[in-house]
Amino acid sequence: MQHKKRAVVTGVALLSALALAGCSGGSGGDGGSTADAASCAPSDGKVTLDFTSWIPGIEDVVAMWNEENPDIQVNVQTGPNGNGGTYKSFFSQLAAGNAPDLGQIEYDALASFRVQDGLEDLSACEDVVAAEKEFIPWTWGQVTLGSDGVYGIPQDSGPMALFYRSDLFEQNGIAVPTTWDEYKEAAKAIRAKGGYITNFSTADINQFAGFVWQANGHWFSNDGKEWTVDLTGDESTKVAEYWQELLDEDLVSTYPAWTEEWNNAYNSGEVWSWNSAVWGANSISSGAPDTAGLWSVAPSPQWEAGGKSAGNWGGSSIAVFKGTDHLYEAAKFALWLNTSDEALTALNESANIYPATTAGLELPSLQKGVDFYGGQKIYDVFAEAASQVNPDFVWGPTMTQTYADVSDGFQKAVTGSGTLLDALKSAQESTISTLKSQSIPVAE
């Protein structure tokens, strides 16, 4: 069967042709991206930027920019949120050398892109350096990563406060707690009435980090040479032991967060409060629609009476990826998106984005009373909290792993094996070994 053999030979020839095409395509692609990265000079002629984000309604905001800037057109691509897959895509695109020019990155993920050398340093751009004073100082700290560089433009923030059922607190004669000690006393009183003061989430480790942040704790630091991991520092230990006590005494519920069960616990009035970020306002109104008008917002309980300190949960930045040929234009767009009134107003309307600029906190839509919260001007509380966030909190470069390990340990702790502190201790070790395995210098 002579012709069979010929078919096989043709197949092999085809395959090698494909392989060759692959190689030549690759070298061509690399050649294109070796432009001088450090300079921040305008390009000649019309520029098109690729921008990946998962913010709802971002297309409309970008369309506003495209209309005003015919020479810098932005092509927006959307997808799942960062940890839902977009970060994974960013890393594979960086590896393949075809990352978009700009991308949405949450504060807690910036360092992981930085250690992989995936981000352009925006401090080369004068406009960016000049814009620092427009931002709430601690949000700027989140994008400098404790260095002289600037690795993103802050977009939004998540200052934390206490959402609580004012009707239930009032009816039962329980004062709204202003310190964590009072919070615990209130928890006991609420438990006696059959409810829970709050739900402890084993999934939202960044919420727990927000508690540690508020207590002035630090999980990571970086002196420019090596990383220090300190998940079990004094403040972190204090917070873990506090919540462990609440768990031990069955004063908090432990429904899996963001599930129907969890929504229902709030909707039915079983759980009375939630220590959450500004964006949580929407989560409650959508998850617990039957409780409209019954909620209020108060500043977070403090560790010391009269203290003024707030944690932060969430928030993201717009970063420029390594390999872009248009650093100047990308920075210009990112600044417009995150500082201009029109963009901030549109983002706030479409996606409830809480701006990271000081001027942004004065948007008209953030000055109004909110019906779901009985007409309270809740954003005043958050604006105050935004000014009380510790600027020195730094995220580590392997937060996905750290979150996962802490979360595993927390899950065990709520089912009765081990404690929250044990979870932090074991995550401390696994984080150090992960850093080492990625050849990231770490102090023991």
């Binding site: 959307t78 994974k88 594979s92 393949a96 978009p100």
Partner: protein, 298 residues
């Protein structure tokens, strides 16, 4: 592979009327097991259907397994209009990826399996074993290497990035070979050659028909595999207009915290997205029964 042993020409036809008598007890037990499994598989679908008829408030507060108020068509209308009708586009994409991909994969796998079964050439078993090895490699593990390859030829974020990797089915080759060697008689191919038909024509006009039950199986498996393939689009695609429906719904689902009304759309969208799969199964399963080539060489 019970359907294989049933339909292969090698086994004698089962007489429909005369089976061994079972005791009432064992029949009852079998029914019970099947009943439990049926319930187990159908309850989530029932839940999904009920959930997609409710508005957002009722979803949390009313009985999850029974109707509250008939919002089904209003929900569907909202879903189809949301984001400029992007959902319809996603469904279309999924049908294109899965339909076209499964069709091509079936043809290739059928040809390949047939060749391995019916022709003798050097290295035949080696090729076959390599293909069999491919069955063991999970598609997820290949997504990243594929992404890097497609990046080099600038094909990421295109229709081809999802279609091309979907048209290979090692399992299909395996199934086609086993089936072809059992159900396509050598005499029939010889007869075709004597009558002057080319090998290609013999394959398409005679052998393929005899292999139809296997090919339908390959098609369905591959259709479902592509339809449900999540990781590949996640890695390859960036433009919303190219997303298949599974990935699109997932994207919405990750945005629930910010846009709560998406919850309804995700539910209704998930419900609608299983309709094509059910239709494909119902339409194609009859081929399993009447694709037999028995009697052709008697």
């Amino acid at each position: 592979m019970s359907l294989l042993t049933r339909t292969a020409g090698a086994t004698p036809d089962l007489a429909p009327s005369r089976g061994p008598r079972e005791s009432l007890l064992s029949r009852g037990a079998a029914l019970l097991v099947m009943g439990v499994f049926t319930l187990y598989f159908l309850v989530p679908i029932w839940w999904l259907f009920i959930a997609s008829t409710k508005d957002r408030g009722d979803l949390l507060t009313t009985n999850p397994l029974w109707f509250a108020d008939g919002n089904f068509f209003a929900n569907i209308g909202d879903l189809l209009n949301y984001g400029g009708g992007i959902y319809v586009r996603w469904i279309g994409n999924s049908i294109a990826y899965a339909g076209l991909g499964a069709l091509l994969a079936t043809i290739f796998a059928g040809m390949c399996g047939y060749a391995l079964a019916k022709y003798r050439f050097r290295g035949r078993e080696t090729y076959f074993n390599i293909v069999l090895g491919g069955v063991l490699v999970p598609a997820t593990a290949l997504a990243l290497p594929l992404f890097l390859l497609f990046s080099q030829v600038n094909l990421t974020n295109t229709f081809w990035a999802v279609l091309l990797p979907s048209i290979v089915s090692p399992f299909g080759v395996y199934l086609s070979r086993i089936y072809a060697s059992a159900s396509v008689p050598d005499e029939l191919i010889e007869a075709g050659r004597i009558d002057g038909a080319s090998e290609v024509r013999t394959f398409f006009t005679i052998s393929m028909r005899l292999m139809m039950p296997a090919l339908i199986t390959v098609f369905l498996f591959q259709f479902v595999a592509i339809w449900n393939n999540f990781f590949l689009p996640l890695i390859m695609l960036r433009s919303e207009e190219l997303f298949p429906v599974t990935f699109g719904l997932y994207t919405w689902n990750t945005q629930l915290n910010q846009i709560p009304e998406l919850r309804t759309y995700v539910l209704v969208g998930s419900f609608l997205s299983i309709v094509p799969l059910i239709a494909a199964f119902l339409l194609l399963q009859r081929f399993w029964r009447n694709g037999l080539g028995s009697g052709s060489v008697k």
